[in-house]
Protein backbone atom coordinates (compact mmCIF):
# COMPACT_ATOMS: atom_id res chain seq x y z
CA UNK A 1 0.00 0.00 0.00
CA UNK A 2 1.25 3.43 -0.84
CA UNK A 3 2.01 5.95 1.87
CA UNK A 4 1.12 8.98 -0.23
CA UNK A 5 -1.55 8.76 -2.89
CA UNK A 6 -2.46 11.65 -5.14
CA UNK A 7 -5.27 11.21 -7.67
CA UNK A 8 -6.67 13.61 -10.25
CA UNK A 9 -5.26 16.63 -8.47
CA UNK A 10 -5.98 20.08 -9.96
CA UNK A 11 -4.85 23.47 -8.78
CA UNK A 12 -5.50 26.95 -10.16
CA UNK A 13 -3.95 30.27 -9.26
CA UNK A 14 -6.69 32.54 -10.55
CA UNK A 15 -6.98 31.75 -14.23
CA UNK A 16 -3.62 30.00 -14.26
CA UNK A 17 -4.10 26.23 -14.27
CA UNK A 18 -0.87 25.14 -12.56
CA UNK A 19 -1.57 21.47 -11.79
CA UNK A 20 -3.57 19.70 -14.48
CA UNK A 21 -4.50 16.34 -13.04
CA UNK A 22 -1.65 14.80 -11.09
CA UNK A 23 -1.64 11.10 -10.23
CA UNK A 24 1.17 9.93 -8.02
CA UNK A 25 1.83 7.18 -5.54
CA UNK A 26 4.71 7.12 -3.10
CA UNK A 27 5.52 4.01 -1.10
CA UNK A 28 7.03 4.01 2.36
CA UNK A 29 10.80 4.44 2.06
CA UNK A 30 10.65 5.96 -1.40
CA UNK A 31 12.94 8.86 -2.22
CA UNK A 32 11.20 10.89 -4.90
CA UNK A 33 12.91 13.69 -6.78
CA UNK A 34 10.70 16.26 -8.50
CA UNK A 35 12.45 18.11 -11.29
CA UNK A 36 11.39 20.50 -13.99
CA UNK A 37 11.70 24.07 -15.19
CA UNK A 38 10.59 26.91 -12.97
CA UNK A 39 6.84 27.34 -13.38
CA UNK A 40 6.30 23.68 -14.19
CA UNK A 41 4.31 23.19 -10.96
CA UNK A 42 6.79 21.09 -9.01
CA UNK A 43 6.93 23.33 -5.92
CA UNK A 44 3.17 23.81 -5.98
CA UNK A 45 2.67 20.04 -6.11
CA UNK A 46 5.00 19.59 -3.14
CA UNK A 47 3.21 22.30 -1.17
CA UNK A 48 -0.20 20.68 -1.71
CA UNK A 49 1.00 17.55 0.06
CA UNK A 50 0.91 19.30 3.45
CA UNK A 51 -1.85 21.74 2.64
CA UNK A 52 0.24 24.88 2.22
CA UNK A 53 -1.50 25.13 -1.13
CA UNK A 54 -5.16 24.24 -1.30
CA UNK A 55 -6.44 21.66 -3.76
CA UNK A 56 -9.24 22.64 -6.14
CA UNK A 57 -10.09 19.12 -7.24
CA UNK A 58 -8.78 15.65 -6.63
CA UNK A 59 -7.72 13.46 -3.79
CA UNK A 60 -4.72 13.41 -1.49
CA UNK A 61 -4.17 10.64 1.03
CA UNK A 62 -1.22 10.44 3.39
CA UNK A 63 -1.10 7.38 5.64
CA UNK A 64 -4.87 7.16 5.81
CA UNK A 65 -5.52 10.88 6.30
CA UNK A 66 -7.34 12.20 3.26
CA UNK A 67 -8.22 15.51 1.67
CA UNK A 68 -11.03 15.31 -0.91
CA UNK A 69 -11.22 18.34 -3.19
CA UNK A 70 -9.27 20.25 -0.54
CA UNK A 71 -11.50 19.32 2.41
CA UNK A 72 -10.38 17.24 5.35
CA UNK A 73 -8.42 17.38 8.56
CA UNK A 74 -5.52 19.62 7.60
CA UNK A 75 -3.80 19.49 10.98
CA UNK A 76 -3.93 15.70 11.13
CA UNK A 77 -2.36 15.67 7.67
CA UNK A 78 0.37 18.12 8.68
CA UNK A 79 1.32 16.02 11.68
CA UNK A 80 2.24 13.25 9.24
CA UNK A 81 4.05 15.44 6.74
CA UNK A 82 7.20 17.38 7.60
CA UNK A 83 8.52 20.17 5.43
CA UNK A 84 11.88 21.84 4.93
CA UNK A 85 12.05 25.11 3.01
CA UNK A 86 14.52 26.82 0.72
CA UNK A 87 14.86 29.76 3.13
CA UNK A 88 15.18 27.62 6.33
CA UNK A 89 12.49 29.72 8.09
CA UNK A 90 13.80 29.13 11.60
CA UNK A 91 12.12 31.19 14.31
CA UNK A 92 14.71 33.90 15.03
CA UNK A 93 13.79 34.50 18.68
CA UNK A 94 14.25 30.87 19.67
CA UNK A 95 17.42 28.82 20.05
CA UNK A 96 18.02 25.79 17.84
CA UNK A 97 16.79 23.56 20.66
CA UNK A 98 13.67 25.70 21.24
CA UNK A 99 12.94 25.75 17.51
CA UNK A 100 12.91 21.97 17.55
CA UNK A 101 10.96 21.64 20.82
CA UNK A 102 8.20 24.13 19.99
CA UNK A 103 5.89 22.01 17.83
CA UNK A 104 6.10 18.81 19.92
CA UNK A 105 5.22 20.73 23.11
CA UNK A 106 2.59 23.03 21.62
CA UNK A 107 0.96 20.74 19.05
CA UNK A 108 1.34 17.31 20.62
CA UNK A 109 1.43 18.38 24.25
CA UNK A 110 4.69 16.53 24.83
CA UNK A 111 6.16 17.22 28.27
CA UNK A 112 9.10 19.62 28.24
CA UNK A 113 11.68 17.12 29.45
CA UNK A 114 10.63 14.61 26.82
CA UNK A 115 10.60 17.26 24.09
CA UNK A 116 14.11 18.20 25.15
CA UNK A 117 15.22 14.58 24.75
CA UNK A 118 13.63 14.47 21.29
CA UNK A 119 15.34 17.75 20.37
CA UNK A 120 18.72 16.44 21.49
CA UNK A 121 18.20 13.24 19.55
CA UNK A 122 17.25 14.92 16.25
CA UNK A 123 19.94 17.59 16.58
CA UNK A 124 22.45 14.79 17.10
CA UNK A 125 21.11 13.11 13.97
CA UNK A 126 21.84 16.24 11.90
CA UNK A 127 25.24 16.62 13.54
CA UNK A 128 24.44 19.71 15.62
CA UNK A 129 24.19 18.43 19.18
CA UNK A 130 26.59 21.18 20.28
CA UNK A 131 24.33 23.96 18.88
CA UNK A 132 21.32 23.36 21.12
CA UNK A 133 21.58 26.82 22.70
CA UNK A 134 22.65 28.72 19.60
CA UNK A 135 20.32 31.23 17.96
CA UNK A 136 19.71 31.02 14.21
CA UNK A 137 21.76 34.13 13.48
CA UNK A 138 24.77 32.48 15.14
CA UNK A 139 24.62 29.57 12.70
CA UNK A 140 25.78 29.21 9.11
CA UNK A 141 23.22 28.64 6.37
CA UNK A 142 24.02 24.95 6.24
CA UNK A 143 23.65 24.63 10.00
CA UNK A 144 20.36 26.54 9.95
CA UNK A 145 19.03 24.22 7.29
CA UNK A 146 20.06 21.18 9.32
CA UNK A 147 18.23 22.62 12.35
CA UNK A 148 15.19 23.06 10.09
CA UNK A 149 15.43 19.39 9.14
CA UNK A 150 15.71 18.45 12.82
CA UNK A 151 12.68 20.63 13.60
CA UNK A 152 10.62 18.74 11.03
CA UNK A 153 11.90 15.34 12.24
CA UNK A 154 10.94 16.10 15.84
CA UNK A 155 7.28 15.72 14.86
CA UNK A 156 8.03 12.16 13.71
CA UNK A 157 6.60 12.66 10.21
CA UNK A 158 5.77 9.76 7.91
CA UNK A 159 7.07 11.69 4.95
CA UNK A 160 9.43 14.64 4.66
CA UNK A 161 9.03 17.26 1.92
CA UNK A 162 12.11 19.18 0.84
CA UNK A 163 11.53 22.30 -1.26
CA UNK A 164 14.83 23.21 -2.96
CA UNK A 165 16.55 22.99 0.39
CA UNK A 166 20.05 23.66 -0.92
CA UNK A 167 19.21 26.45 -3.38
CA UNK A 168 19.81 29.28 -0.92
CA UNK A 169 23.09 27.88 0.36
CA UNK A 170 26.63 28.85 -0.51
CA UNK A 171 28.15 26.10 -2.67
CA UNK A 172 30.52 24.89 0.06
CA UNK A 173 27.60 24.34 2.46
CA UNK A 174 25.46 22.24 0.11
CA UNK A 175 27.19 18.94 0.80
CA UNK A 176 26.64 18.99 4.59
CA UNK A 177 22.90 19.32 4.07
CA UNK A 178 22.79 16.70 1.33
CA UNK A 179 24.73 14.33 3.59
CA UNK A 180 21.96 14.60 6.19
CA UNK A 181 19.29 13.92 3.58
CA UNK A 182 21.26 10.97 2.24
CA UNK A 183 21.51 9.59 5.77
CA UNK A 184 17.73 9.93 6.25
CA UNK A 185 17.12 8.11 2.97
CA UNK A 186 19.42 5.30 4.08
CA UNK A 187 17.46 4.98 7.32
CA UNK A 188 14.27 4.46 5.33
CA UNK A 189 12.70 7.94 5.64
CA UNK A 190 10.17 8.64 2.90
CA UNK A 191 11.29 11.77 1.06
CA UNK A 192 9.76 13.90 -1.66
CA UNK A 193 12.13 16.60 -2.81
CA UNK A 194 12.08 19.36 -5.35
CA UNK A 195 15.71 19.70 -6.33
CA UNK A 196 18.15 21.09 -8.83
CA UNK A 197 20.86 18.73 -7.61
CA UNK A 198 20.58 16.25 -10.48
CA UNK A 199 23.48 14.11 -9.40
CA UNK A 200 22.03 13.81 -5.91
CA UNK A 201 18.62 12.92 -7.35
CA UNK A 202 20.22 10.20 -9.43
CA UNK A 203 22.33 8.79 -6.61
CA UNK A 204 19.87 8.92 -3.71
CA UNK A 205 16.46 8.90 -5.39
CA UNK A 206 14.63 5.76 -6.41
CA UNK A 207 11.94 7.64 -8.32
CA UNK A 208 12.28 10.64 -10.59
CA UNK A 209 9.40 12.79 -11.69
CA UNK A 210 9.77 15.32 -14.46
CA UNK A 211 7.10 18.02 -14.33
CA UNK A 212 6.21 19.99 -17.45
CA UNK A 213 3.33 22.47 -17.90
CA UNK A 214 1.50 21.26 -14.78
CA UNK A 215 1.64 17.57 -15.62
CA UNK A 216 3.88 14.64 -14.81
CA UNK A 217 5.59 14.42 -18.18
CA UNK A 218 7.88 11.54 -17.50
CA UNK A 219 8.79 9.43 -14.49
CA UNK A 220 10.67 6.33 -13.51
CA UNK A 221 13.92 5.09 -12.06
CA UNK A 222 16.32 8.05 -11.99
CA UNK A 223 19.22 6.15 -13.50
CA UNK A 224 17.28 5.01 -16.57
CA UNK A 225 15.32 8.24 -16.94
CA UNK A 226 18.50 10.29 -16.97
CA UNK A 227 20.28 7.89 -19.30
CA UNK A 228 17.41 7.48 -21.77
CA UNK A 229 14.89 10.31 -21.61
CA UNK A 230 11.80 9.33 -23.59
CA UNK A 231 10.55 12.82 -24.39
CA UNK A 232 12.32 15.73 -26.11
CA UNK A 233 11.24 18.06 -23.25
CA UNK A 234 13.12 16.00 -20.67
CA UNK A 235 16.10 15.57 -22.96
CA UNK A 236 16.19 19.35 -23.41
CA UNK A 237 15.89 19.94 -19.68
CA UNK A 238 18.69 17.52 -18.83
CA UNK A 239 20.85 19.11 -21.51
CA UNK A 240 20.16 22.61 -20.16
CA UNK A 241 20.94 21.57 -16.59
CA UNK A 242 24.12 19.74 -17.48
CA UNK A 243 25.53 22.52 -19.64
CA UNK A 244 24.97 25.01 -16.82
Amino acid sequence: MSLVKIAGLHKHFGTNHVLKGIDLEVASGDVVALIGRSGSGKSTLLRTVNGLETIDKGELVVDGTALHDGRGDLRALRQKVGMVFQQFNLFPHLTAGQNVMLAPTVVKGTAKAEAEDIAKEVLLKVGLSDKFDSYPDQLSGGQQQRVAIARALAMRPKVLLCDEITSALDPELVSEVLAVVRQLATEGMTLIMVTHEMRFAREVGNKLIFMHHGRIHESGDPKTVFAEPQTPELANFIGAVQSA
Binding site: L52, V81, F91, V107
Partner: protein, 222 residues
Amino acid sequence: MAYRFDFAPVFEHTDLLLAGAGFTLALTAVGAVLGIGLGVTGAVCRAWKLRPFDRMFGLYVEVIRNTPFLVQLFFIFFGLPALGVRMSEWQAAVLAMVVNLGAYSTEIIRAGIQATPRGQIEAAESLAMTRPQIFRHVVLRPALAKVWPALTSQVIIVMLGSAVCSQIATEELTFAANFIQSRNFRAFETYFVTTGMYFVMALAIRQLLVQLGQHYVVGRAR
Protein backbone atom coordinates in the same frame (compact mmCIF):
# COMPACT_ATOMS: atom_id res chain seq x y z
CA MET B 1 13.00 95.57 40.97
CA ALA B 2 14.29 92.32 39.59
CA TYR B 3 12.35 89.10 40.29
CA ARG B 4 13.83 87.19 43.21
CA PHE B 5 13.73 83.46 42.78
CA ASP B 6 12.53 81.59 45.79
CA PHE B 7 11.99 77.85 45.60
CA ALA B 8 11.26 77.37 49.27
CA PRO B 9 7.48 77.94 48.85
CA VAL B 10 7.49 75.13 46.29
CA PHE B 11 9.47 72.69 48.36
CA GLU B 12 7.11 73.25 51.27
CA HIS B 13 4.71 71.16 49.19
CA THR B 14 7.15 68.42 48.28
CA ASP B 15 4.74 65.83 49.67
CA LEU B 16 2.02 67.02 47.28
CA LEU B 17 4.39 66.98 44.32
CA LEU B 18 5.62 63.49 45.11
CA ALA B 19 2.10 62.20 45.61
CA GLY B 20 1.11 63.78 42.29
CA ALA B 21 4.12 62.21 40.54
CA GLY B 22 3.21 58.87 42.08
CA PHE B 23 -0.32 59.13 40.73
CA THR B 24 0.97 60.14 37.31
CA LEU B 25 3.20 57.07 37.26
CA ALA B 26 0.38 54.82 38.47
CA LEU B 27 -1.97 56.21 35.79
CA THR B 28 0.73 55.63 33.19
CA ALA B 29 1.46 52.09 34.36
CA VAL B 30 -2.19 51.02 34.28
CA GLY B 31 -2.77 52.90 31.03
CA ALA B 32 0.28 51.36 29.37
CA VAL B 33 -0.50 47.76 30.34
CA LEU B 34 -4.17 47.92 29.36
CA GLY B 35 -3.51 50.17 26.35
CA ILE B 36 -0.87 47.89 24.88
CA GLY B 37 -3.12 44.91 25.59
CA LEU B 38 -5.88 46.65 23.64
CA GLY B 39 -3.34 47.49 20.95
CA VAL B 40 -2.29 43.85 20.55
CA THR B 41 -5.95 42.84 20.22
CA GLY B 42 -6.64 45.55 17.67
CA ALA B 43 -3.46 44.77 15.76
CA VAL B 44 -4.37 41.08 15.44
CA CYS B 45 -7.86 41.94 14.19
CA ARG B 46 -6.44 44.43 11.69
CA ALA B 47 -3.46 42.38 10.51
CA TRP B 48 -5.48 39.17 10.10
CA LYS B 49 -8.58 40.94 8.79
CA LEU B 50 -10.90 39.32 11.33
CA ARG B 51 -14.35 40.50 10.25
CA PRO B 52 -16.06 42.54 11.55
CA PHE B 53 -13.54 43.51 14.21
CA ASP B 54 -10.94 44.76 11.74
CA ARG B 55 -13.35 47.44 10.48
CA MET B 56 -14.40 48.36 14.02
CA PHE B 57 -10.80 48.81 15.12
CA GLY B 58 -10.06 50.72 11.92
CA LEU B 59 -12.80 53.24 12.70
CA TYR B 60 -11.72 53.45 16.35
CA VAL B 61 -8.10 54.12 15.38
CA GLU B 62 -9.07 56.89 12.94
CA VAL B 63 -11.43 58.58 15.43
CA ILE B 64 -8.91 58.58 18.27
CA ARG B 65 -5.90 59.60 16.19
CA ASN B 66 -7.74 62.52 14.62
CA THR B 67 -9.26 64.13 17.71
CA PRO B 68 -7.67 65.93 20.69
CA PHE B 69 -6.95 63.97 23.85
CA LEU B 70 -8.53 66.69 25.98
CA VAL B 71 -11.80 66.41 24.07
CA GLN B 72 -11.74 62.61 24.41
CA LEU B 73 -11.27 63.02 28.14
CA PHE B 74 -14.10 65.58 28.45
CA PHE B 75 -16.38 63.36 26.39
CA ILE B 76 -15.77 60.43 28.73
CA PHE B 77 -16.03 62.41 31.97
CA PHE B 78 -18.68 65.03 31.13
CA GLY B 79 -20.41 63.53 28.10
CA LEU B 80 -21.01 59.89 29.00
CA PRO B 81 -23.03 60.62 32.18
CA ALA B 82 -25.80 61.72 29.78
CA LEU B 83 -25.99 58.03 28.84
CA GLY B 84 -25.95 57.05 32.48
CA VAL B 85 -22.25 56.13 32.47
CA ARG B 86 -20.75 57.91 35.44
CA MET B 87 -17.14 57.53 36.52
CA SER B 88 -14.78 58.97 39.07
CA GLU B 89 -12.08 61.28 37.70
CA TRP B 90 -9.57 58.44 38.13
CA GLN B 91 -11.65 55.98 36.16
CA ALA B 92 -12.22 58.54 33.42
CA ALA B 93 -8.50 59.38 33.28
CA VAL B 94 -7.46 55.72 33.04
CA LEU B 95 -10.11 54.99 30.44
CA ALA B 96 -9.09 57.97 28.31
CA MET B 97 -5.42 56.95 28.45
CA VAL B 98 -6.18 53.32 27.61
CA VAL B 99 -8.40 54.30 24.71
CA ASN B 100 -5.82 56.76 23.42
CA LEU B 101 -2.79 54.48 23.73
CA GLY B 102 -4.83 51.54 22.43
CA ALA B 103 -5.44 53.33 19.14
CA TYR B 104 -1.83 54.36 18.55
CA SER B 105 -0.40 51.03 19.66
CA THR B 106 -2.85 49.14 17.41
CA GLU B 107 -1.19 50.74 14.42
CA ILE B 108 2.35 50.38 15.79
CA ILE B 109 1.95 46.68 16.66
CA ARG B 110 0.12 45.95 13.41
CA ALA B 111 3.21 47.11 11.55
CA GLY B 112 5.30 44.67 13.59
CA ILE B 113 2.92 41.76 12.96
CA GLN B 114 2.81 42.44 9.23
CA ALA B 115 6.60 42.44 9.09
CA THR B 116 6.66 38.73 10.03
CA PRO B 117 8.27 36.86 7.13
CA ARG B 118 5.67 34.74 5.33
CA GLY B 119 8.03 31.76 5.42
CA GLN B 120 8.07 31.65 9.23
CA ILE B 121 4.29 31.39 9.32
CA GLU B 122 4.37 28.67 6.65
CA ALA B 123 6.98 26.79 8.65
CA ALA B 124 4.75 26.96 11.72
CA GLU B 125 1.72 25.86 9.68
CA SER B 126 3.64 22.93 8.28
CA LEU B 127 4.37 21.88 11.88
CA ALA B 128 0.58 21.61 12.38
CA MET B 129 0.40 24.63 14.70
CA THR B 130 -2.97 26.41 14.91
CA ARG B 131 -3.37 30.10 14.16
CA PRO B 132 -3.53 31.16 17.83
CA GLN B 133 -0.47 28.99 18.56
CA ILE B 134 1.40 30.56 15.66
CA PHE B 135 0.50 34.02 16.85
CA ARG B 136 1.53 33.40 20.42
CA HIS B 137 4.75 31.45 19.82
CA VAL B 138 6.03 32.64 16.44
CA VAL B 139 4.60 36.05 15.59
CA LEU B 140 4.10 38.04 18.78
CA ARG B 141 7.55 38.34 20.33
CA PRO B 142 9.49 39.26 17.18
CA ALA B 143 6.69 41.68 16.25
CA LEU B 144 6.83 43.44 19.63
CA ALA B 145 10.63 43.44 19.49
CA LYS B 146 10.58 45.23 16.12
CA VAL B 147 8.27 47.99 17.34
CA TRP B 148 9.43 48.23 20.96
CA PRO B 149 11.21 51.60 20.52
CA ALA B 150 8.08 53.09 18.93
CA LEU B 151 5.88 51.68 21.71
CA THR B 152 8.25 53.09 24.33
CA SER B 153 7.96 56.56 22.82
CA GLN B 154 4.19 56.27 22.68
CA VAL B 155 3.98 55.33 26.36
CA ILE B 156 6.04 58.40 27.23
CA ILE B 157 3.80 60.59 25.09
CA VAL B 158 0.80 59.24 26.99
CA MET B 159 2.53 59.82 30.34
CA LEU B 160 3.20 63.45 29.40
CA GLY B 161 -0.32 63.75 28.01
CA SER B 162 -1.77 62.67 31.34
CA ALA B 163 -1.10 66.23 32.50
CA VAL B 164 -4.34 67.07 30.76
CA CYS B 165 -6.23 64.91 33.25
CA SER B 166 -5.73 67.70 35.80
CA GLN B 167 -8.57 69.41 33.94
CA ILE B 168 -11.09 66.97 35.38
CA ALA B 169 -9.48 67.26 38.84
CA THR B 170 -7.52 64.01 38.66
CA GLU B 171 -4.94 64.68 41.34
CA GLU B 172 -1.84 63.88 39.37
CA LEU B 173 1.37 65.89 39.11
CA THR B 174 0.05 68.83 37.06
CA PHE B 175 -2.98 69.11 39.32
CA ALA B 176 -0.63 69.29 42.31
CA ALA B 177 1.48 71.94 40.54
CA ASN B 178 -1.57 74.05 39.74
CA PHE B 179 -2.72 73.78 43.33
CA ILE B 180 0.69 74.80 44.74
CA GLN B 181 0.99 77.68 42.30
CA SER B 182 -2.44 78.96 43.27
CA ARG B 183 -1.28 79.07 46.88
CA ASN B 184 2.18 80.59 46.57
CA PHE B 185 1.89 82.50 43.26
CA ARG B 186 5.38 81.22 42.44
CA ALA B 187 4.51 80.21 38.88
CA PHE B 188 8.10 80.14 37.58
CA GLU B 189 9.48 78.08 40.43
CA THR B 190 6.52 75.72 40.65
CA TYR B 191 6.39 74.89 36.95
CA PHE B 192 10.18 74.80 36.71
CA VAL B 193 10.28 72.08 39.34
CA THR B 194 7.30 70.31 37.79
CA THR B 195 8.93 70.39 34.36
CA GLY B 196 12.07 68.87 35.86
CA MET B 197 10.04 66.13 37.49
CA TYR B 198 8.29 65.21 34.23
CA PHE B 199 11.65 65.20 32.48
CA VAL B 200 13.17 62.83 35.02
CA MET B 201 10.10 60.61 34.97
CA ALA B 202 10.18 60.40 31.17
CA LEU B 203 13.85 59.43 31.20
CA ALA B 204 13.21 56.86 33.92
CA ILE B 205 10.28 55.29 32.06
CA ARG B 206 12.33 55.12 28.88
CA GLN B 207 15.16 53.39 30.73
CA LEU B 208 12.75 51.01 32.43
CA LEU B 209 11.07 50.07 29.15
CA VAL B 210 14.40 49.63 27.39
CA GLN B 211 15.51 47.28 30.17
CA LEU B 212 12.21 45.39 30.24
CA GLY B 213 12.28 45.13 26.47
CA GLN B 214 15.84 43.83 26.41
CA HIS B 215 15.04 41.27 29.03
CA TYR B 216 11.59 40.02 28.10
CA VAL B 217 10.85 41.06 24.54
CA VAL B 218 13.76 41.90 22.33
CA GLY B 219 16.25 39.46 23.83
CA ARG B 220 17.56 37.64 20.81
CA ALA B 221 14.49 38.36 18.68
CA ARG B 222 15.40 40.34 15.61
